[in-house]
Symmetry: C2
Subunit: 148 residues, 2 copies
Amino acid sequence: MANDEVDGRWRTRLGYLLKHAQLRMAELNAQALRPYGIAARELPILFILDELGAASQQEAATRLGVDRTSMVALLDALEDKGLVSRRPHATDRRRNVVVLTESGADIMARAARASDAAEREFLAPLDADDANRLRRALGAVAHPPDAD
Amino acid sequence: MANDEVDGRWRTRLGYLLKHAQLRMAELNAQALRPYGIAARELPILFILDELGAASQQEAATRLGVDRTSMVALLDALEDKGLVSRRPHATDRRRNVVVLTESGADIMARAARASDAAEREFLAPLDADDANRLRRALGAVAHPPDAD
DNA sequence: GGCTGATTATCAGTACTACTGACGATCAGT
DNA sequence: ACTGATCGTCAGTAGTACTGATAATCAGCC
């Protein structure tokens, strides 16, 4: 490019860097997951259902940091694709028990590998040590112990 | 907290980490800038105008990675607050020349200090070395040399 | 047993952001 | 003068995130 000499202040601002890094990661993830028909924000839902075996919508939502009202449409989409199923809770009939379907578990496993590849591509400019440090540093600042 | 033993896979995913780190930084910035009446996304505009002295809307938009149609409303708001002014370009009457007002330069300087403080708070969980590495790593992955 | 308050999933409406497509005005090259 | 490109603007769209309200259900209490 033309002007590398003008390296404006805003380019080293964390707000700018985080936003654009997040945009690029989201784009790479979207590309990687497109063949599997799921969005980047849907994969974590499959993960947590696999991990918990089954969960109420509320439980999944709060663990993922998603609003419970947003979870409704997310699960609608996943249910339409046949990746999860909602069943009434045995004893508490207010709740839905959400579980992965066979197809959902299969897609999750394959999409996870594709997303891993996307992360590797994202991290390509860094060596292994810097990549690990980045991951740990992001974890520290994203969830500081004293955050409210 | 209760379950540190269940450290789900998604919590170490870059997509998740970047999103939540960005959310926290944005929140801290918003808080820091609220007393000055500007939004986090407006500060970079003030920076670039200060840096360039004057710029067309197009120039400012492309440099900041903002869509030119979004820049219209952004500048409308800044102009309403009296922080920037639009004047017709001397020779090219399609363009607007956007410049900082005196008030704009003043607010920019003070808001920049507040935003610096917000960045320090954001980075508080890290030591100085890790903080610098984080900044450089983010710059590398946000704008990889081979990105299209 | 029946009442009260809390919880769950859901829906409607709102706000913000980012983008596409179109438009009039203007410029540059021929 | 004509053609094509550029600049600022606006309308419309899509995605996301949230608030507030609702019906159904549960749990505690008298």
